[in-house]
């Protein structure tokens, strides 16, 4: 009994570490931007190149900034979730067309529907770098003061929206 106790304990600890390691997603890198002011930008709008969109305009509102692209398959997966969320009227979702072709982005939105009141165009991906985007889709929840409160890496799903996004948005709106 005593002879096997120590090796078994060590084995148990290792299994524990590996089990936890298996449940972690290496793609989800915690963002240092959560809790910090959303980086400023001023970018042309997709539907009206002469107009610009800037987070400055959103002060006083809780809003979502969703980085997407017509070439991104995860964005297609996420799209119905965004449509539902936009329809529910809980929060407005602003789009950021990330490193995309303008006409392809417009066709994509026409074909699948447009959940965004405004889409800004980040053709070179510079604003994406300021926001620490490393793979679309990524979604930021930004509060009334313009501070990032949450970052979703990868597609949003119904469960995340219901359990995380909506409660957080309600809490931030009440402030």
């Amino acid at each position: 009994m005593n002879r096997f106790f120590l090796p078994l304990t060590i084995f148990g600890i290792m299994v524990g570490f590996l089990a936890v390691g298996l449940t972690l997603n290496p793609r989800e890198i915690p963002s240092p931007l959560v809790g910090k002011a959303a980086p400023q930008f001023s970018l042309p709008q997709l539907h009206d190149q002469d107009k610009v969109f800037s987070p400055e305009e959103m002060k006083g509102q809780v809003w979502l900034l969703n980085f997407w692209a017509s070439w991104c398959s995860g964005c297609k997966t996420e799209h119905p979730v965004l449509m539902d969320l936009a329809k529910s009227g809980e929060v407005s979702i602003y789009g950021m067309d990330y490193k995309d072709q303008k006409d392809e982005a417009l066709t994509w939105l026409k074909r699948w529907g447009n959940p965004y009141p405004i889409v800004a165009v980040d053709a070179a991906g510079r604003v994406g770098i300021d926001y620490g985007v490393y793979g679309v889709p990524e979604t930021y929840v930004i509060d009334k003061q313009g501070v990032i409160r949450y970052k979703q890496i990868g597609p949003l799903d119904d469960e995340t929206v219901a359990k995380k996004i909506i409660p957080l948005v309600k809490e931030l709106q009440a402030k």
Partner: protein
């Protein structure tokens, strides 16, 4: 014949490889970029450095770093710029912090624990072997037995 076609088709020489683009006109800036890029992780393909990766994001980040070099920013400023956006994860050498202490100290803890385990095991074993004094007669008998053993095998 079919095999021959297959082999010809699979010959690497037939595939066209694009020439690597020259990175910049300034060799000093390029050397700095190289020096920095091997220290930085590409976030898309996480086991590659920024220098190795061909992911679009890595290209963009190299472009940003190149711009920052052109603007005469120091290495530390450039690294801070990336860390403030992507976190410590972009660094291949994580800084020593409370959250990374296990990572940094863990190997030493393991070495010390292994050393202690080894020393105690060896001590315990040496205690088991009791020192025995033998007479001349016993010595002869041992030698005899040993030589018999050799013969038998």
């Amino acid at each position: 014949m079919r095999w021959l076609t297959l082999i010809v088709l699979l010959m690497p020489g037939l595939s066209l490889a694009g020439e690597a683009r020259p990175l910049a006109d300034d060799p000093v800036a390029e050397a700095r970029l190289k020096h920095l890029a091997v220290e930085l992780r590409c976030l898309v393909c996480q086991n590659q450095t920024l220098a190795d990766s061909n992911a679009p994001l890595a290209e963009d980040l190299r472009r940003e770093v190149r711009d920052m070099i052109a603007r005469n920013m120091s290495d530390q400023e450039i690294i801070d710029f990336l860390v403030s956006r992507y976190g410590d994860f972009v660094l291949y050498r994580p800084p020593l912090k409370a959250t990374t202490s296990l990572l940094w100290l863990g190997p030493f803890v393991l070495v010390v624990a292994g050393g202690v385990a080894l020393v105690t095991a060896l001590r315990r074993r040496s205690q088991k072997v009791a020192a025995v004094t033998m007479t001349e007669e016993e010595h002869r008998r041992v030698e005899q037995l040993l030589s018999q053993g050799v013969k038998r095998s």
